[in-house]
């Protein structure tokens, strides 16, 4: 029976965007069922379940909140997982709780009444009031997590792939919220499993302010590029949808974010030896990238010389906690200005690496790459006329410059002064992008590749 349920569960998970095992051979290794949450004797029964899936032999733990009914409510058909025989309640029908309005109320109640039953603990930064009258709405477009808007002004981010220890998204939001940073959406609290057998718990959800006026920075920037491309021959600074003023303000926000991070969390300084180690790490990553993407080969030597320049840089580099995976898609334009979201770092990296200190120049390089991406994402480089290429380059250059100007003005130091480091990080990012696109969107590989070409000749 359990085997049947596991098969149904795996089948359901395999259809979800957050499931990372697609394409591999997966099996459920273990399901840890936490105690029932207090649902005040109202259907459905709700609990958190941690599902360990082995994909091609590698384990990954997923957080799946479940809702159980005695019957099969028609309205829940789209979130049906399967039937489950419960030792206490008999045969029940299981659903994904995050698709069930009735279950979500119980799932988030602990933030309000601080009831830590159900094997989970809640930490709040102040009293929390959740409007459970207004139905919640699930945001679309997310890859690895599920986010719900609760009421008018709260966002519940549900981590699906969980690892033991503090999630950096929570850690950084917590520190920045306490420091009063305006560069983020303030954190209200988080939910984690209780530590068990001396092992750390898993962070399951975080609750923060929902910025309902927000627009995704990536879409906003692309709207500007689209506007430019609709004009026959105007320059980027002449069209109505010019983005440079926004790019400059965004630069200011990222600079303030870095200032806030440096103040609230650990900082350090890399000496000459550590900078050399950085150059070695980057060189190693480049070699790996070249091995996967032979397109990089012609540039490998020149790109490597950029890392040589870094290795011989006789200077120290201040390091601190950074965003780690900063690009336009991690920015929101709100009516109060720009806000940076999603501090989980590059999801593919192990936790220790994501938490490691780094130069804020890495984030700056990420943003510069992102402007390049936005510019080229409207028309693929391979389909571009030379005139179009000239114009999107102009857009990218104009906005990269505006971003750097805004950053310099707010930070008091210009990233362009750290030319060698900035270039090294940009190369690293672009090489990573080439590999990523090769695997995921082969038709886009020319976007980072043309950047590689430019960086190699610079």
């Amino acid at each position: 029976m359990t085997a049947d349920f596991h098969a149904q569960l795996l089948h359901y998970m395999n259809d979800q965007r957050w499931f990372a095992g697609k394409g591999g051979v997966s099996s459920i290794d273990e399901v840890v069922r936490l105690p029932w949450l207090d649902t005040k004797d109202v259907e459905p029964l709700v609990r958190v379940e941690l599902v360990t899936v082995l994909t091609d032999g590698a384990p990954q733990i997923y957080h799946v909140p479940m809702a159980y009914y005695e019957s099969e409510p028609e309205r829940m058909a789209h979130a049906l997982i399967g039937t489950y025989d419960d030792p206490d309640h008999g045969r029940l029908v299981a659903y994904d709780a995050l698709h069930d309005r009735a279950a979500i109320g119980a799932y988030v109640l602990g933030f309000v009444d601080r009831d830590d039953s159900g094997g989970v603990t809640h930490t709040v930064l102040g009293p929390v009031d959740i409007d459970t009258e207004t139905p919640s709405v699930m945001l679309t477009g997310e890859q690895s997590n599920t986010s719900l808007v609760l009421g008018e002004n709260l966002l519940l981010k549900v981590f699906r792939k969980v690892v033991a220890g503090r999630n950096p998204d929570i850690e950084i939001h917590d520190a920045l919220t306490r420091a009063g940073s305006t560069a983020i959406a303030p954190l209200r609290g988080w939910m984690a499993t209780e530590p068990r057998d001396g092992r750390q718990g898993y962070d399951l959800t975080m609750l923060q302010d929902f910025l309902r006026s927000g627009t995704d920075g990536w879409e906003y920037a692309r709207a500007s590029v689209r506007d430019l491309m609709m004009e026959a021959d105007l320059h980027a600074d002449e069209v109505g949808g010019d983005f440079a003023a926004e790019a400059e303000r965004l630069g200011g926000t990222v600079a303030r974010l870095h200032g806030d991070l440096a103040e609230a969390l650990q900082t350090d300084t890399w000496g000459v030896a550590e900078v050399k180690q950085l150059a070695d790490r980057l060189r190693k990553r480049l070699a790996e990238a070249v091995a996967t993407a032979p397109e990089l080969k012609p540039y490998a030597a020149t790109l490597g010389s950029a890392y040589d320049a870094l290795a011989t840089l006789e200077t120290s580099v201040p390091v601190q906690r950074v965003h780690g995976d900063l690009h336009l898609g991690q920015t929101l334009r709100t009516i109060g200005g720009w806000v940076i979201i999603d501090f989980e770092g590059e999801p593919a990296k192990p936790l220790a690496e994501r938490n490691a200190l780094d130069s804020p120049i890495r984030d700056v390089a990420g943003m510069l790459r992102s402007f390049d991406y936005a510019a080229y994402s409207m028309v693929l480089p391979s389909e571009m006329t030379s005139q179009e290429r000239h114009r999107v380059d102009e857009w990218a250059e104009r906005n990269r410059t505006a971003f750097l100007d805004g950053y310099s003005a707010a930070r008091g130091e210009d990233p362009r002064a750290q030319e060698v480091l900035l270039r090294a990080y940009e190369i690293d990012k672009a090489a990573y992008e080439v590999v990523y696109e090769k695997h995921n969107r082969p038709s886009w590989v020319n976007i980072p590749l043309s950047a590689i070409e430019r960086l190699a000749t610079a």
Partner: protein
């Protein structure tokens, strides 16, 4: 004859009438000439009240029509209690006012508190007789060193706020032109003179005043001479004076400041406001232009989110264009450069820190944009103030001096002088617009009346819808954001009346997904056509809009009951 014997009062006695009113600014000299002398006059304006009533105007705002040397469009007043000779007489004014009131149209008049013309007898007396009754009516000084922190407003023409008067042998203070000396509000006799003048017009029956240039009444060393506490004390005095004798009349402040400073002109929050009933919200206007040019809602959303709450008996006044330049003081330097580049391609289009253009030429005569702008004007929070001629898409004449380019005669017909006057064309107060696009042969009321798809008919229809929906006048404002930065969407709600306004600020078609969860199950009804749209469901509500398109939806609360 006492006032109660002759006066016709407007029908409604709602003291908050101004919150739902559509205002219309009309320059008497440029509207209709009844005497054939080339200058519009009060009798001419009275003749056209039927047109204004047809359009749906609730209240006229008349810029100054007092005796004046007309060196600043009449804002240089030389007698506060008379009518300029070329415009008419006090009896003409009474006749006009009764005719307006009998059509349900109220009238507010401009009142210039800060300064007079240098031709005002008070100033002439003050300069020639320093010890006489008017010797202390103005701000005199032996040096031009005082109040250096006060900025110069008309930077194009004035080098200093002080000008030497050879007659009195002293400098006099002026925040605007050097022919407009500032009155000395430290002198109680000036207060009394102002209250007496207000009483004169209130007794005649005017429904309120637009108080010109109120932030500058006082000057104090070490300050910028704007928004001083003494100014607010004086405004409270004026409010009490008006409320005591003539309840239901309004004070509308012109304070070209940031909203956070302007709110002070409403007065005490807890008592519902004890200074002006209304203030102009200046930054909204350039932000609308900015937002459409940038194809981004943020310039508008930002300024509205930064606008503080106002006392409950108060209201904002908003406008797209008026007789002054498009003021760019309320945008950042970078944005100002951009606006100049975009909207004032010819340097003559710039005036002071603004742009001297009418709505239609500012928008390249694009009917879609004119409709979008008007829809925003009629739906954003605040009472809309239309500017005469913009309802037919009139043009401007940038070759006229100062701000006269946007003050040319109203275009009534394709006949001589645009039907404005029977005078010899050369005698007209200002020449009519004659260019091929905006000339009166093409753009006039007669043609627009005959064409039911004209901007004029459309504007009238929109005003009607606005008047049917208290939410658009009295309602709360909620910016609902949405997935698309080019689309500005907001809710206005008042009691059971809920309006959803969705505006595409981009020239291209756009989709938008709106979070309308509180209205789940409601079927929005588009108000221009009465068409019912699909019901709002669990998922974000998807709408598509054409370039510069917009919707005004009614969100009926008791839909089942209202259906047949």
């Amino acid at each position: 004859m006492t006032e109660s014997e002759h006066q016709i009062r407007p029908e409604s006695d709602d003291p908050n009438w101004f919150k739902r009113a559509v205002f219309y600014e009309v320059l008497i000299r440029s509207f209709k000439d009844s005497s054939g002398d080339g200058v519009g006059d009060l009798r001419g304006l009275a003749e056209r009240l039927d047109y204004l009533a047809w359009l749906g105007v609730d209240c006229l705002w008349l810029p100054p029509f007092f005796p004046s040397p007309l060196r600043d469009g009449g804002y240089d007043v030389s007698d506060y209690t008379d009518v300029a000779e070329d415009i008419g007489t006090i009896d003409d004014f009474k006749m006009f006012l009764d005719a307006a009131h009998s059509r349900g149209i109220r009238v507010i008049i401009d009142f210039v508190m800060n300064h007079t013309s240098d031709q005002h007898p008070w100033f002439q007396s003050s300069r020639s007789d320093p010890d006489g009754p008017y010797g202390d009516f103005y701000v005199w000084s032996d040096t031009d060193d005082l109040y250096q922190d006060a900025r110069i407003i008309f930077v194009d023409t004035e080098a200093s706020n002080w000008t030497w008067d050879p007659v009195r042998g002293q400098y006099f203070w002026h925040r605007f032109y050097s022919h407009q000396p500032d009155l000395n509000f430290d002198n109680p006799a000036v207060h009394q003179a102002m209250l007496d003048a207000l009483a004169f017009w209130l007794d005649l029956g005017v429904d309120g005043f637009r108080l010109d240039a109120v932030p500058y009444l006082y000057e104090r060393e070490g300050t910028n001479g704007e928004n001083l506490p003494e100014t607010h004390t004086f405004l409270r005095k004026v409010r009490t004076f008006v409320d005591d004798g003539w309840p239901g009349r309004v004070l509308l402040a012109e304070a070209n400041q940031w909203p956070t400073d302007v709110v002070d002109y409403f007065g005490d929050f807890n008592t519902g406001g004890d200074e002006c009933h209304m203030c102009f919200h200046f930054p909204v206007m350039p932000r609308i232009f900015m937002a459409v040019r940038r194809e981004s809602r943020y310039p508008i959303s930002e300024i509205l989110s930064q606008t503080p709450d106002i006392p409950k008996n108060c209201h904002w006044g908003i406008f797209l264009r008026n007789h002054d330049e498009l003021t760019l003081e309320m945008v950042t330097d970078e944005d100002r450069d951009y606006m100049w580049a975009e909207y004032a391609k010819d340097p003559r289009m710039k005036a002071n820190i603004g742009i001297r253009r009418r709505l239609a030429p500012l928008l390249d005569n694009d009917i879609d944009q004119m409709e979008l702008f008007t829809a925003l004007l009629l739906s954003l929070p605040g009472s809309p103030v239309l500017y005469y001629g913009d309802e037919i898409g009139m043009g401007d004449n940038i070759w006229l001096g100062d701000r006269d380019g946007v003050r040319t005669p109203m275009q009534w017909t394709p006949d001589r002088n645009a039907g404005f006057s029977s005078a010899t064309p050369g005698r007209l107060t200002l020449p009519v617009i004659m260019d091929p696009v905006f000339g009166y042969q093409a753009v006039n009321v007669e043609a627009d009346l005959a064409n039911t798809s004209s901007l004029l008919h459309w504007t009238r229809r929109m005003i009607q819808i606005r008047q049917q929906h208290p939410a658009l006048g009295l309602g709360s404002f909620t910016d609902i954001g949405g997935s698309n930065p080019a689309v500005l969407s907001f809710l206005r709600e008042f009691g059971d009346d809920a309006m959803l306004c969705v505006n595409n600020l981009s020239r291209f078609a756009q989709p938008v997904e709106l979070d309308l969860r509180p209205f789940e199950g409601v079927r929005p009804i588009e108000t221009l056509g009465g068409v019912e749209f699909p019901a709002i469901g669990e998922l974000p509500y998807l709408l598509t809009l054409g370039g510069y398109g917009f919707y005004w939806f009614r969100l009926p609360k008791n839909q089942e009951a209202s259906r047949p």
